[in-house]
Amino acid sequence: MPNVVIVGGGPAGIRAASILVEAGLKPVLVNETRQVGGQGYRAPAKSLAVDINALMGSEAGKYQRLHSLFASLQERIDYRSGTLVWGVHEKVLHTLCDGTAGTIPYDALILATGATDRIMPLPGWTLPGVFTLGGAQVILKDQGCLIGNRIVFLGSSPLLFLAALQYHKSGASIAAVVDTTPLSAKRAAMRDLAASPRTLARGIVYRASLHMAGVPIIDGATPRGIDGEGHVEGVRITDGRGRERLIPCDAVAYGYGLKPETQLAELAGARFRFDPIFRLWLPETDADGRAGADLYLAGDGAAIGGADAAEASGALAAHALLTDMGRAQPEAELARLRREVERLRQFQRGLARAFAWPVAQSATLSDETVACRCEAVTVGEIRSAVHAPLGPREVNRVKAITRCGMGRCQGRFCGPALQEIVAGACVVPIAEVGRLRMQAPVKPIPLHAAAEMEP
């Protein structure tokens, strides 16, 4: 039997596993966290008295179905919980579990690695009390904790309103929800958003519920900075009418949508193309998720599509893998899944316009603003490197000179902003400054584990 390995225990990985099990295979499912469900459908720890149905709201049914599906599969797959895949080399995954290094060889690999928040630097964004928007949701579901006593939800993301509503239901005090995209841009995105009327309606309900609860919602604001001595004390914005405002708070949930975790795809041989709507380099796949020989990508780790698209694309990737093994697959079902994934990803393209990545903000950042939180590299250091005589215009060379993107997070959080800052300083289209290259280990590991990768 071929050795099929799936990386990622979210909706895409679990659905892929179920298709493979139905076909009589016993895939290995490697999950970095201890709870399955990914970040969005993550199960709370057993001892936590969280009302997950209330938190998941309209998605509670899907949450329950995914977890029952995983429960039914658990005995029929080789499930590796709490296992980090930190490298891929010649069809072997290099892993770390409870401090112990290991390897998993594969014949075919499905990567369903999910996404993290996309962040634009802002003066004060490294202060204690500023967390990612996705992180604010995770800490509530995983640990039953709120990120602060009085919270501002800041940025532009469909998750902004969902997270704020989950916090409101959990008893949080919300100082404001500050969306940096003007309402006019949201109206302009309606055509793409109509691709998924149910999801669109859900977003409108989140917003209306917050409004009814008396939570201040500010549209079209420009964030100026996060103030505080040693920790967050307030958020400074210019609102949509041009008024300067200071919103006192002790925590900020901050984010501009999601960005695929593509590090392992790159190490496994995927090629990348620049996506002008997301303004990100995304792995190239065919409609079924094929990204190279024996390599398949699914879920938000391939292209941001949300949980429903993740499930459908996970199923598609598994069907593609089985097809490539010479097993005929149900064509009608494949066609249905392809339409579903395409429709949901079109909706995400609408969301990318309705909740815009703040390109203009990168040009107005002060030189003192920290761009790379790992290595404390400022925006001014990046601009100086680019403007120096014979200065680089390519992000990997800028990284080598400034150390921006060279730290422990491997450019996950500064990478998108670094591309914008370099492109802005060089006055060239962003695609021309290139893409930050990744290398193993994709997350920090002890030295003894790395030593075992040597041939």
């Binding site: 969280v50 990612t132 404390a376």
Partner: protein
């Protein structure tokens, strides 16, 4: 080493919104004894009891984690046995000794 748990200097950054049922754990964070519940992540314990997780190696700015999901690597702390761990993906354990400053951990050893 004090035996009784005590309030750390600052009140916590995090607020517990959902009760957790489980065994009570006692940890030592920078010489203070704090209580936690089985299942708490180390980051949750640190931020329920304080506002800072560590100070940056470059310039010493205070940090308290950021992504809360194992990606940003901004919540690494030292344990009593010298191991360094990412607080958000590490479960708190009874009698765990945690140092937010690796130099203090070294000085104590």
């Amino acid at each position: 080493m004090p035996d009784e748990p005590k309030q750390r200097t600052h009140k916590g950054q995090f607020v517990r919104a959902v009760p957790r049922h489980g065994a009570t754990l006692r940890l030592t964070i920078d010489r203070d004894t704090v209580e936690a519940v089985e299942g708490d992540s180390l980051l949750a314990v640190l931020l329920l009891n304080g506002r800072v997780v560590r100070h940056l190696e470059f310039g010493g700015a205070p940090r308290a984690g950021f992504c809360l999901m194992g990606a940003c690597q901004d919540c690494w702390v030292s344990l009593g046995d010298g191991d360094r761990v990412r607080a958000c993906t590490t479960l708190a354990a009874n009698e765990m000794v945690v140092w937010t400053d690796p130099q203090k951990a070294h000085a104590d050893a």
